[in-house]
């Protein structure tokens, strides 16, 4: 089943994650719960998609290679898509990182620490974006 192949009844969730296996797990988990998902494999690609489309919410990894990381995506949304500012879920693989800590400390944005269970993901998504 391909998420981009079928028309979406509602706005999709944008998953920005450079790690394909993680992205695949998150996408699979969300789709089984009935969510539409759009994947982006980098911060830049995610912002590109945010410019053109409407999304129910954004799930973004914090640490990603390239010029734009999760914090940048978060900042871009706060500035350019205030409608989505409260609809962001961050994923972190490294909460010991001080940048991550300061980002999390400065906003009420929820964060999922890797590795997380499916149940943790779904309950955070439902709480933040609502049910599909």
């Amino acid at each position: 089943m391909n998420a981009t192949a079928i028309p979406r009844p509602a706005a999709a969730i944008l998953v920005i994650e450079d790690e394909p296996s993680v992205s695949a797990f998150v996408t699979a988990a969300l789709q089984r719960r009935g969510y539409a998902v759009v994947e982006a494999s980098s911060g830049a690609a995610g912002i590109d998609k945010l410019r053109s489309g409407a999304f129910a919410g954004v799930i973004s990894d914090i640490r990603m290679p390239g010029d734009i990381n999760g914090a940048d995506v978060h900042a871009w949304i706060s500035k350019n898509r205030p409608d989505l500012a409260a609809r962001i879920i961050l994923i972190s693989g490294d909460t010991a990182n001080s940048e991550t800590q300061s980002l999390l400390a400065s906003s009420p944005t929820p964060c999922l620490e890797k590795p997380f269970r499916v149940q943790q993901l779904i309950s955070t998504v439902e709480k933040t974006f609502g049910k599909p």
Binding site: E19, S21, V22, A24, F25, V26, A28, A29, R32, R63, G93, D94, T95, A96, N97, S98, Q101, K114, P115, F116, R117, V118, Q119, L121
Partner: protein, 773 residues
């Protein structure tokens, strides 16, 4: 001796006998003639014989004589050559003459045939000069004859006195000539007409002619003896108006001191000029040598008044004091300039007055140009008979160079001493046998005592396991090679062991032989500790970065594994057997997740919470968690809490985790040792830190250096991940504190110390603000 038979004493005129009549004027005439004879006589014995002859004739005597007293003997001057007296009577007479008599005495000659008249002859001053004696046939002396005898005696006295005086004069004149002749100096006397009046014998001998031969010769004939370049006819006269002259003249290789006296006579002819030429050639030579020595000697010599005015100085002194010439130095009283202070001059004067002579007297003098001259002087005072100092003489050495050298040496010595004494290193000098011969002040400041060091072997202070290293280094140095930064443990003065860095340098004698070893010891215990701490924290930081990276990398696949496992388990199509396997995958994944999370806790750099924490309270809560276990296993917990500890800022949960970990560790160590367990927990304020110490009596720690490294565990497999203390380390570091571990010294067990920064007022205020936001 027979007593002469006395006929009459005193004046025989009293006998009243009649004397033969003789006209008295005849006596007068004859007496007059005698007086004339006496005046003309120069030779006394002849005169006295004539006198005796006349007296015998005048008084009809058979024989007459004058007995002259010459010294202690009697000399008879008889008128007739033939004496009528037998030898025995002559002896009797001489015997009788020795007796004193005040006036005329008439005796009977032994045998009774003749009379002897004896009349004493006295000089004007009463001295007995002799006796007039007259022999006559037994005819009594008339008073007139007695008077005549008296007159004759007086005449004899006058004559004798006159002749005696004359001969005395002759004698003394002769003596004077002899005296003059005995003088070795040349004496020449000339008159106004420049004619020699006299010379003494030594001058005549020098000229090779008798003295008399020179008399009447012109004084200019003596010109060759010495020359004064006088324009006068006399070579020795310079200024005839002077009564006295004295100068030095030379001639024929000799030097003379010419002393001239001029006597003014009653007439021009009688004026005399007396020259005495003293040969002072030898003296001049001695003087010349002395002067040469005086002037050529390198030491300064001086003669000065007691007030310090120089009277004579040598060239060396002139040079020393920087004057142009001796005259320059002697011209004015330089003492005011010479002495830098009046007190210095006074000090010298007092010292001379007190001691008379000064040896190696040191004085700083001022040269003419104002420069300072350091001198050493030997001074002696010349005193008059009353003991007053009339002159000072001295020898002066210029010791400026020595002084400068000395003071430079002193400065260098002081400098070296200062370096030795102010350096923070201990510096010791050992002989080649390793015995300490010198220790600088730092050694004593460090608490070592002199009697513990000097004469003892330094190696005895070195910890036994390092003694071989030290001995080897000492040998190397004794062979001339330097040994640098040898690090070893040695005993401190308080018996504690310290970590020392030691450098050994060879010290060589004149023959280039190593005879001493200089040891520089620096206690680097603190530095070593600091370095170890630094190295440790660096290591931990590196591990932290590694762990953080690994955790992050592991978390991604772990997230996928855990996620997909969850999805599979949700899938009703998965058979039950596979579901069981999936449960195991899930469990192991969870376990991996925990390990990774522990690693991240270790690597975490900041506490998640920052709020005021009372460490004592956290400790009590932690102890509550373990109190059951501890009491049931007989582990005693001693709480020594300082209630004035003050708060620290941090995460109470995390700190509890730290304390719990340390307590668990201690508990395990106690269990392992089988000791009666005891854990002492002490809190205190250590400067700006809140300090918690956990002191247990367990097995101790195998490697305290590595105890906080991740996965470093001595526990049996499965009993722990080996991350517990690493997490503690991470948490404490994240709180800005430090955690330390060491084995108890001299006791069993180990000590863990956690130090956390005490919260300052401003930090507390900032935290309160943060919390209230």
């Amino acid at each position: 001796m027979r007593e002469p038979k006395r006929i009459s004493a005193r004046h025989t005129a009293a006998s009243g006998r009649k004397a033969p009549a003789r006209p008295s004027q005849n006596y007068s005439q004859e007496l007059m003639e005698l007086a004339v004879d006496a005046a003309n006589s120069r030779v006394l014995p002849e005169f006295l014989r004539r006198f005796a002859q006349r007296a015998a004739e005048m008084l009809q005597g058979e024989w007459a004589a004058v007995a002259e007293i010459v010294g202690n003997r009697i000399e008879l001057h008889a008128g007739a050559a033939e004496s009528p007296l037998s030898l025995s009577k002559r002896e009797w007479l001489l015997e009788t003459l020795t007796q004193k008599r005040p006036g005329l005495e008439i005796l009977e000659l032994p045998g009774g045939s003749r009379l002897v008249a004896l009349y004493p002859i006295h000089a004007g001053d009463g001295e007995l000069m002799g006796t007039l004696c007259l022999l006559r046939k037994k005819t009594a002396f008339s008073p007139a004859e007695e008077k005549l005898l008296s007159a004759l005696a007086s005449h004899a006295a006058l004559s004798m006195e006159k002749v005696r005086r004359f001969s005395q004069l002759e004698r003394s004149k002769k003596q004077w000539v002899e005296d003059i002749d005995a003088i070795s100096d040349y004496i020449a006397v000339h008159d106004q007409a420049w004619r020699i009046v006299r010379t003494n014998r030594s001058l005549a001998t020098q000229l090779g002619i008798p003295p008399a031969a020179l008399v009447g010769e012109p004084i200019s004939s003596l010109r060759h003896i010495a020359e004064t370049r006088s324009a006068l006819p006399c070579p020795f006269c310079r200024d005839t108006r002077e009564a006295r002259e004295e100068y030095v003249a030379t001639g024929a290789g000799r030097t003379f001191l010419v002393s001239t006296s001029r006597t003014r006579g009653a007439t021009e002819e009688e004026s005399r000029t007396i020259h005495v030429l003293k040969d002072i050639t030898d003296r001049r030579e001695a003087e010349r040598r002395y002067r040469e020595l005086f002037d050529s000697i390198q030491e300064g010599l001086f003669f000065a008044t007691p007030e310090g005015q120089f009277l004579d100085v040598n060239d060396a002194l002139v040079r020393m004091l920087g004057y142009d010439s001796a005259e320059d130095l002697l011209r004015a009283d330089v003492s005011a300039h010479l002495y830098p202070t009046p007190a210095a001059k006074e000090r010298l004067a007092n010292a001379i007055a007190k001691h008379g002579a000064l040896r190696n007297y040191e004085e700083t003098l001022r040269r003419k140009d104002g420069g300072l001259l350091h001198t050493q002087q030997n001074i002696s005072a010349v005193r008059d008979p009353l003991g007053n100092v009339v002159q000072i003489r001295g020898l002066m050495l210029d010791v400026t160079e020595q002084k400068m050298f000395q003071s430079q040496l002193q400065r260098e010595r002081d400098f070296n001493q200062k370096i030795l004494n102010t350096t923070q290193s201990m510096i010791l000098v050992l002989d080649t046998a390793g015995l300490i011969s010198y220790a600088n002040r730092r050694c004593y400041e460090a608490g070592y005592r002199e009697h513990e060091l000097i004469g003892h072997r330094l190696v005895d202070w070195v910890e036994s396991s390092h003694q071989n290293d030290f001995e080897a280094a000492l040998q190397t140095t004794a062979h001339g090679q330097q040994v640098d930064n040898l690090e070893l443990r040695a005993r401190r003065a308080d018996a504690s062991l310290g970590h020392f860095s030691i450098s050994l340098s060879p010290m060589r004698d004149e023959a280039n032989q190593v005879n001493n070893v200089v040891v520089v010891m620096t206690d680097i215990t603190d530095a070593a500790l600091l370095q170890a701490k630094l190295a440790h924290s660096e290591k931990m930081a590196t591990i932290g970065r590694l762990v953080s990276g690994v955790a992050h990398e592991v978390n991604n696949p772990l997230a996928a594994i855990l996620g997909f496992t969850d999805l599979l388990l949700e899938n009703p199509d998965v058979p039950i057997t596979a579901r069981e396997d999936l449960q195991i995958i899930l469990q192991e994944t969870q376990r991996t997740k925990e390990i990774v999370q522990d690693l991240l806790s270790f690597a975490r750099q900041r506490p998640t919470q920052k709020e005021p924490v009372n460490v004592n309270s956290v400790l009590r809560q932690t102890l509550k968690l373990r109190s059951y276990d501890f009491s049931s296993h007989g582990v005693e917990v001693i709480e020594e809490f300082d209630e004035r500890l003050g708060p620290t800022l941090g995460d109470a949960q995390q700190l509890q985790q730290v304390f719990l970990n340390i307590l668990n560790n201690a508990y395990d160590a106690i269990q392992e040792s089988g000791n009666h367990g005891r854990i002492r927990i002490r809190t205190r304020r250590a400067e700006d830190d809140v300090e918690v110490a956990f002191i247990d009596n367990g097995t101790g720690v195998v490697d305290p250096e590595r105890i906080f490294d991740p996965f470093f565990t001595t526990k049996q497999a499965g009993k722990g991940t080996g991350l517990g203390l690493s997490i503690c380390y991470g948490i404490v570091r994240a709180h800005g504190g430090e955690i330390l571990c060491w084995n108890n010294e001299g006791e069993v067990g180990s000590t863990f110390v956690v130090r956390l920064p005490a919260a300052t007022e401003t930090a507390l205020a900032a935290a309160a603000k943060e919390a209230g936001r």
